[in-house]
Symmetry: C2
């Protein structure tokens, strides 16, 4: 039924037909995600809600703004993307997130938490300014609802003098179970709601900010969902409404229902496991045994960062604050003022949210906080909004910050040992998976690089991080066969740079390789170091553009980060 | 009395003596701020509160965390900084903000809004982990209370299982009058509080998050303040408390009481007026007359950004969201999706809070939002936490973003006209004051630089922004007298760069000048552009360190950004 469905057809369907449509969507989503990877249980939980929304509202005239976007698959199936659905998250395929360029039914791109209410308010305000007439709906999960942006948006609802429908999809989880007082409050609301007077008493918080509160506490009941949305649609003409919907994460697929955390994000079989995060967890747990100052802070990703064991073993020295990256960074800085040794583990892309706090709270106070930056470099199938390719650029100019980039999981372990003794701000950046151990090092010294191959004097390849080092060493071995010998240098600290080594390379042709944007990264730092010299440097890094979804290796190859490209460049240079 | 006062002496004083102390503090603060510049009315409002806090609590054993820090002067006077007080905000003098390096009574550095609750929680949590016993107090103004960080911190209070005292100093203003629903709620609380049952009904929001709510609605009454704090001190052993204190901004100085917005920040007489902000206001108001798509968004600084007239003239097309920089950026992005033309005006240092939203919401969607970045470059007396020297570095690597830097107020006006027709993300960065108009330009073309002097072939100085252009042109004129002729080029677009002009300079010795960090700024971009060439470039920009307080010119001079330094460098090079 889904194949060529239009909004007009959907609106003519009987309940029975709509229920069959839900089952069909559920089946396609499960099958596709198990093949391509993606967000499974959150999407299964919101099938009925998405069908009801498309049944009641008139998209694309009405606007549906997702938060993060882990629940947009059914909406995609219902709005013209049935035939491309099996390309989801693949290179050149449709996105796993809402994307304006893909469809007029996706009105706002998302990926990071908490933006939907602000975006819906902006769209509604623009509608009013333009004198238009349509409904604006934000759909947010209870995990994102912890983010400070929600409060900022709530606080300005009356100020903006406009109306939106905010649907709070409450499944009790972000990736991990949702934490915090707001979520406890939501539980109270949904438990007491059958008793009218209690609802009136409890729903005050939302009313203070200008929302009328309503709830559907069986959000997987399509009939109830439709009838409530129809009722609310009328109200929206004069009033903003928050609709609290309880859904079951993983609904309809028993393995998911029973394992919502593992099935939040499904990895397809060609992707590797999380070896760097395993090392983080194991090493930090070991170090914390001896060093009672060590504390770990996460923002709703404890398990995927490898820290479950640490959290179990040291519950008093670990905090998951929910999706609150700014707050997490300040907690670390302030705990450090009292002599603790905080580790803030976070994905590279989400660390962007802590940018100001890294500058002001951590680095301007020169506090010994260690940032463990996971999923650095190209992160793959999630696309533009999740690539970890900006971190070297947004960290390299911050005074007092040391930036370390391990070349393999073994060096990462050594760096964590180094970090425990290091008494200043430190960032350690690493990709998701570790494929190779290049060597075992005895000791890490701050700002000291490692020469991996000797070379014959002409070329020096300076690279940082496993992927770049791998390109460099593969290029070295391909060129060795052709009689060209490269020095390959592991720039395991991007800051401070090893100026002694750099000075020893003055006579060489330097090539830099990194899994980061060219602007502001390792190559840029080296270019600037040598700016006052007559010196040729060739940089391999990502050009000034957003990087779409795709496999890590295929994207790196396409963007010019490969052994072959390095070899080609050097051979062309040799023959010039 | 204040001269050599200690905490022990303070605790022995009679109420009468304490009141005299308040008057003395008020007098010193007024006198000093009128001379040195600084935050006047917020500090006058919190004299009694500060005396009461120091009377009741035992600093530095107990910890007092300020929010932003616009209310720390009395605390400084009471804790050993009486004799240095007249150096406040001057180069080498004491800071206008709390500063750990300055005194053990300043336990946490601040400057940007909303951090105090998170920091107090981190300190309290560390205290618990370390098995220590002291009180932790956060002091926040109602303006900062709008920031999303507050919600993130509130949401984790129970989770962290620790106790703090949060004092909400409510004077109805941040710099501008406080906006938003939370503030309306605070008004209801303070109005109804005398009726016990109403308090119980209303204070629910704070109780939900784990705070007991209490209030002192005449926060300038020292006796009441002391007795309430003594009562609460007992409770803190088992409970977190939020104490809502109403104070009068500018208390005790009638001109301030009547003009709290103008007297929030006092500028000393040697500083110039805000000419760039005047141009912004005038030009945007004029452009908005014809172009109904233009909207303006600010985050609690409408007047100091020059936008008061715009807001008065176009109330439906202007929004001040309070101190919510993230939300402001998303509002702009989302309004742009509906065809509007949003201008987000903000200080450079506070734009750091919108970093992630600039990448994801504005630039990855390639939306025509214009960032008007005021107080760029060295901002002066506020010191480390307020310098605008990072913006080129944190913007230059963001794809899709065009970065413009006008060389004077006349060019700024032209750039705003240019921006109205420009259909992609645009950042325009400018300092507070405009001192000079170098020339009047007819037209601004995207990415096209301007040659200001011809030179004789050897040296090219590429500079951006009024201050750097001024150094460059002064150097040019000093060197002309010595027979050395420079080409001075106005890099009015830092991105995209004018590659045609750059290519024409291949044979020249290039010098770059900018009022920004070296790493990631204009100089770095040019170094990287020429990395594959045998070419010498000399960069004048700020080295990798935080920049303390001081006068703009004296700091620039000291940090190597002056005509003399450029002249010296070139003459040394000539004689080599």
């Amino acid at each position: 039924m889904l194949e060529n469905i239009t909004g007009a057809q959907l609106k003519k369907m009987t309940l029975k037909e709509l229920l069959a449509l839900c089952e069909e969507a559920r089946e396609i989503i499960t099958r596709t995600v198990l093949k391509n990877g993606g967000h499974l249980s959150s999407n299964l939980g919101t099938v009925e809600l998405s069908v009801a929304l498309n049944y009641v509202f008139d998209f694309p005239k009405d606007k549906l703004v997702f938060d993060v976007g882990h629940q947009c698959y059914t909406h995609k199936l219902l709005t013209g993307r049935y035939f491309e659905f099996d390309t989801i998250r693949q290179k050149g395929g449709i996105s796993g997130f809402p994307k304006r360029a893909e469809s007029e039914y996706d009105c706002y791109n998302v990926g990071h938490a908490g933006t939907s209410v602000s975006a819906a308010l902006g769209i509604a305000k623009a509608r009013d300014i333009n004198g238009e007439n349509f409904n604006v709906i934000a759909l947010i999960g209870d995990g994102s609802f912890n983010n400070g942006l929600i409060y900022e948006a709530f606080n300005s609802l009356r100020l903006l003098n406009t109306n939106i429908l905010l649907i709070l999809n409450d499944n009790g989880m972000s990736i991990a179970p949702t934490v915090g007082s707001m979520h406890e409050y939501l539980e109270i609301l949904s438990e007491d709601i059958t008793q009218k007077h209690k609802k009136d008493r409890h729903a005050k918080i939302f009313e203070r900010f200008g929302f009328e509160y309503d709830g559907v506490y069986d959000g997987n009941d399509l009939e109830k969902m439709i009838s409530k949305l129809e009722e609310i649609k009328e109200k929206l003409k004069t009033q903003s409404v928050i609709l609290h919907v309880l859904t079951k994460k993983g609904k309809g697929y028993s393995f998911c229902e029973e394992n919502p955390e593992v099935t939040h994000g499904i990895t397809n079989s060609t992707e590797k496991v999380d070896e760097y995060s395993e090392i983080l967890g194991k090493t930090l747990t070991r170090l914390a045994e001896k060093d009672k100052r060590i504390v770990a802070v996460t923002a709703a990703m404890t398990s995927s960062l490898g820290l479950s064991e640490f959290f179990e073993k040291y519950p008093d020295r670990s905090v998951d604050v929910g999706i609150c990256e700014e707050h997490a960074a300040i907690l670390c800085a302030s705990m450090a003022t009292e002599g603790l040794k905080p580790y803030y583990a976070v994905y590279s892309t989400f660390l962007q949210r802590s940018f100001d706090e890294i500058i002001i709270d951590i680095c301007s106070q020169n506090l010994p906080v260690t940032l463990c930056i996971d999923r650095a470099g190209i992160s793959g199938s999630d696309g533009e909004t999740h690539q970890g390719v900006f971190d070297l650029s947004f960290l390299s100019f911050i005074p007092n910050l040391t930036i370390a980039v391990p070349k393999d999981i073994s060096e990462f372990e050594k760096m964590l040992e180094f970090s425990a003794e290091f008494n200043a701000p430190l960032a350690i950046r690493y990709p998701r998976s570790g494929n190779k151990i290049f060597n075992k090092r005895d000791e890490i010294l701050c700002g000291q690089w490692e020469k991996l191959t000797e070379g014959d004097g002409k070329y020096a390849l300076i690279a940082c991080g496993e992927r770049a080092i791998n390109c460099a060493l593969n290029a070295e071995s391909l060129l060795r066969e052709k009689g060209v010998r490269l020095s390959v240098i592991n720039a395991c600290f991007v800051k401070p740079m090893d100026t002694e080594t750099l000075d020893s390379l003055k006579e060489k042709f330097i090539l830099t390789v990194e899994d980061n944007m060219l602007i502001g990264g390792l190559g840029s730092l080296i270019n600037t170091y040598f700016s006052a010299e007559n010196k040729i440097i060739k940089n391999f890094a990502y050009a000034d553009d957003f990087i779409p979804q795709g496999g890590v290796s295929e994207l790196m190859e396409e963007l010019g980060l490969s052994a072959e490209k390095i070899v080609d460049y050097i051979l062309t240079n040799e023959n010039r």
